[in-house]
Amino acid sequence: MTSEIYSARVRKLFGNPAHAGSLAGAHAARVDDQGVSVQFFADVADGRILELRFLAWGCPHVIAAAEALCAQYERRPVSELKSFEAGQLMQSLSVPVEKTGRILVIEDAARSLAEMLGKI
C-alpha cells in the first residue's frame, strides 16, 4: 500500500498548468480515446515550435503529462517532438501502469501534431 497517488511533480504541474489554453489560428491536433481528450496547439517558425499549448479532459496524470510535454518541447525543433515517447514521461511523473493507455493518447496527439508540423 503506497500512500501517495500523485507525485509532487504531478501535483505541481496539475496545480499550475502554465501551458493550458488554446492558440488562435495555430496548428492543432486532437485525439479522443480511452475516455480522455487531448488537444495540442503549436505556433511554429523555421522548424521550431515557438509556443505549445494544450487542452485536456482527463485525470490529473493526463493533465500533468500534457503540461510537462508542452513545457519540454516549446522552443525546440519540431523534429524533436516527432520522436517523443510516452515511456520517459510516465517514469518522470510516476504514472501508475494502469494509466498507460491514457498517456499513450497524449503520445498519439503529440505525434500527429509533429507530423502535421513536419509537413508545413
Partner: protein, 384 residues
C-alpha cells in the same frame, strides 16, 4: 484541510476517546472480558454496559446484539449466516445493486455457491418500488437485504414497508444501517427487521467494532462464519475488544441524546451547500433532496471526476464510495440509478457531520465552483 467526508468515517468523539483510553492500559480495566477473575468481571461489566447503551439507541434487548469488527463483517455474517441457516428451506435471495459492496459482493459470492439472487433495480432516485419487491418474492425466497440510508446518495429506503412485505411472506429482512445508526430514528422493537448491521466509526465511535442485531423470532437464526472460544453464543468468537465496544456504547449514547439536534444541524448545512452549487451550470443532484441530509451527491457536466477531486484540495470529499474509491470505475450505485458513465464519473459526495460548521460549507462551495471553472477552462470542446 476541510473534511466533508463524514460518510466515509467520522472522528471519534473526545468523550468516547476518553472511554476507550480508560480501558487500554495497566491502570485501567484492561482484562479479557472472558476471564473469570475480578479483573475479567470488570471488563465484562463494561461490555454489558455498552450493550445496554447500544440496545437503548435502537430499542433492542442487549442480548440480541452480537459484536463484530464492523459493518462489513456484520453484513457478511447476517447474509451468509442466514442464507446458510435457511438453505434447506430455499435458496432464493433478494437485494439491490445500489447496496454497499459489503452486501453486493457477499450476494455475488453466494451466487457462486448455489444461491439465486434477484437484483432489484432502483428508480432514478435510487429507491425501491415496493411492488417490485412483492413481485420478486417467491416460495423459496429466504432473505431480503435492503439498506436504510444509502452511503453514496443519502436516499432513505422505506424499511418499515419493506419489512412488512417480508413478514407477510415469512422472509427474513436484513438492513444495513451503517449510515443511519444514531442519525435517523431506528426502533427495531417496532420495525419489522430481523437482522441489522451497524458500525461504530460512522457515528463518532472507533473503527474496528460493529454489531449485528438479531431479532428474537422463530426462524431468525444464522450460522457463524468463524469458530472458536465460544464467545457470543458461538456466533462470533474471539476475545471481545472491550475498549472498542465500550467506545461504541458511549458513542451510541451520545447519539441518542443529540440525534434531533444533529439532524437539524445537518439539514441547515445541506441546504446551504446545495443552495451554493445548484446554480452552477450542468450540476445535478444524485438521489433526492429529501434524503438523509448528511449526504449530498452531485454530478457536473464536462468535468473529469478524479481531476475534480484533486482540484478541490484542501477539501476532503469522496468520489464513489469511500470503500471502493481506490478503483477508478464509476460508481455502480449511480450507474444503477441510470446515470451515464460520464455523469457517474464526475460525481462528488459531500458528507457533513456533527463538527461541520457553516464556514466549512462556504469554503467547500467556493472550492467546488472554482475547481469546475478551472477544469472547464482547460478542457477541449466535448467530442462530437
Amino acid at each position: 484541510m476541510i473534511y466533508l467526508d463524514y460518510a466515509a468515517t467520522t472522528p471519534v468523539d473526545s468523550r468516547v476517546a476518553a472511554t476507550i483510553l480508560a480501558l487500554l492500559t495497566a491502570d485501567g480495566d484492561f482484562a479479557n472480558p472472558s476471564s473469570n477473575h475480578q479483573a475479567g468481571l470488570r471488563s465484562r461489566a463494561h461490555v454489558a454496559h455498552a450493550a445496554e447503551r447500544l440496545g437503548a439507541l435502537i430499542n433492542a434487548h442487549p442480548d440480541r446484539l452480537i459484536w463484530t469488527s464492523g459493518a462489513t463483517e456484520s453484513d457478511n455474517l447476517a447474509i451468509i449466516g442466514a442464507a446458510r441457516a435457511r438453505a434447506h428451506r430455499g435458496r432464493h435471495l433478494i437485494t439491490m445493486p445500489t447496496e454497499h459492496k459489503a452486501v453486493t459482493d457477499t450476494f455475488a459470492a453466494l451466487e457462486q455457491q448455489g444461491f439465486e439472487v434477484s437484483w432489484l433495480a432502483p428508480d432514478s432516485r435510487g429507491l425501491l418500488e415496493i411492488a417490485q419487491l412483492e413481485a420478486a418474492i417467491r416460495e423459496d425466497t429466504q432473505l431480503v437485504s435492503i439498506m436504510h440510508v444509502n452511503n453514496e446518495t443519502g436516499i432513505v429506503q422505506d424499511i418499515a414497508q419493506i419489512g412488512a412485505v417480508c413478514r407477510q411472506h415469512d422472509v427474513l429482512y436484513h438492513v444495513d444501517a451503517a449510515q443511519s445508526l444514531g442519525k435517523l430514528p431506528l426502533d427495531v422493537g417496532n420495525l419489522p427487521i430481523d437482522l441489522m448491521s451497524m458500525t461504530a466509526h460512522k457515528v463518532y465511535g472507533p473503527k474496528g467494532v460493529g454489531a449485528l442485531f438479531i431479532a428474537d423470532r422463530p426462524g431468525c437464526h444464522i450460522e457463524p462464519l468463524t469458530y472458536g472460544g465460544g464467545q457470543q453464543k458461538r456466533l462470533r468468537p474471539g476475545t471481545l475488544a472491550a475498549p472498542l465496544i465500550a467506545g461504541f456504547g458511549h458513542a451510541a449514547e451520545i447519539a441518542s441524546s443529540c440525534q434531533a439536534d444533529d439532524l437539524k444541524h445537518l439539514a441547515e448545512l445541506r441546504d446551504q451547500l446545495w443552495g451554493g452549487i445548484r446554480d452552477v451550470p450542468g450540476v445535478t443532484l444524485n438521489g433526492d433532496i429529501d434524503g438523509f441530509p448528511g449526504i449530498l451527491n452531485v454530478s457536473v457536466d464536462g468535468v473529469e471526476g478524479e481531476s475534480l477531486l484533486l482540484a478541490l484540495e484542501p477539501l476532503c470529499v469522496a468520489t464513489g464510495s469511500a470503500c471502493n474509491s481506490k478503483s477508478q470505475e464509476p460508481s455502480g450505485v449511480l450507474r444503477a440509478m441510470g446515470l451515464s458513465d460520464m455523469q457517474a464519473q464526475s460525481a462528488i459526495r459531500f458528507s457533513l457531520g456533527r463538527p461541520t460548521r457553516g464556514e466549512d460549507v462556504a469554503a467547500a462551495v467556493e472550492l467546488y465552483c472554482n475547481a469546475i471553472s478551472r477544469l472547464r477552462g482547460i478542457a477541449p470542446e466535448p467530442p462530437a
